[in-house]
Symmetry: C2
Subunit: 187 residues, 2 copies
């Protein structure tokens, strides 16, 4: 297989990406993070190992690309016109996601990357930097509208952290009231 | 090996427990949660599989027993005479633990149990119930002294959750000032 000769690189590139992402999602579901290799992803996707390395660089970078694509599709940063509305909508989306069928998959990935050496740490930091930047843009928009906004660290500490830890500790359901209260308390 | 014939059941029992706990700690360090069996623990500890099942019932219950023993040894609930002192000391101990060599091992275990079916969920709930009870006793002592105390859920949401998530998200160091601020903000 020589992908450089593909006649429609954009189309082929998109197909490779879709096949590789789907292979990762399948392997994560069946075995969990940390229990499969780039070779297994490539075989399942029907592409060469070298294609995966060329495009993503490492398994860790590939895993975070898949996660980021999913997060951006399922929990995009809202733009409701007010910081309260934005944070409530964002917190509700996160709550829905982590109590859904995939559960706290982001935490699972972060923990796997946490113990995956330097490449894991770098991939983790890139993933979080990307989402943080989006969250920061949401806060910046509110400030430009003249609203008072909390620091981004406080959103992490007092809205996102409780949601994740509640699911992991099975410490009560994430009711809409509970989720809204986290935001109201912060604001 | 017939352990019921051991002449000093207490001594033998304690030795079995120590050997099994040590085997678990070793296997967790080498392979991570979810990547070894009761048979492998038993072989490493030099005991029969049946001894492990008889005493612990399941791998999940054994894993939580090891974790609970460690938590109780390394992060016992403090008794400083004031709720502020207790919560600060407790938060500092948790921060020290999760930034130490074993890292967020409790989160790793909870995530592994989260996806380990009914026995995993039961073991997880037992582990957390035990620690929650200890934390509640700490809060109750303060109330008996006439202090105003936060609900236990708020300690989880706004002190413990940020500590864990900050480590996992690599969102800044857990300085003593940061840790104390989480407590002060809650109180």
């Amino acid at each position: 297989m020589d992908e450089r000769r593909a006649r429609r690189p954009g189309g082929r590139s998109a197909r490779v990406q879709a096949a590789v992402h789907e292979a990762v999602t399948g392997l994560v579901g069946e075995r969990g993070y940390g229990n499969f290799t780039v070779g297994e992803v490539a075989a399942r996707a029907g592409v060469a190992d070298s294609s995966v390395y060329r495009r993503w660089g490492s398994l860790e970078a590939l895993l975070t690309d898949v996660m980021l694509t999913r997060l951006n599709a399922r929990s995009p940063m809202p733009d409701t016109g007010s910081i309260a509305g934005d944070l409530r909508a964002y917190a509700a989306a996160v709550a829905r996601e982590i109590t859904g069928p995939d559960g706290p998959a982001l935490l699972q990935l972060l923990l796997a990357l946490h113990s995956a050496g330097e490449q894991g740490i770098r991939a983790r930091d890139n993933l979080l930097a990307d989402r943080s930047q989006q969250l920061q843009s949401m806060l910046d928009r509110a400030q430009e509208r003249g609203e008072t906004t909390p620091p981004i660290d406080d959103v992490l500490d007092h809205v996102l952290a409780p949601l994740y830890i509640r699911v992991l500790f099975n410490a009560g359901p994430l009711t809409p009231t509970y989720v809204d209260n986290l935001v109201d308390r912060l604001l």
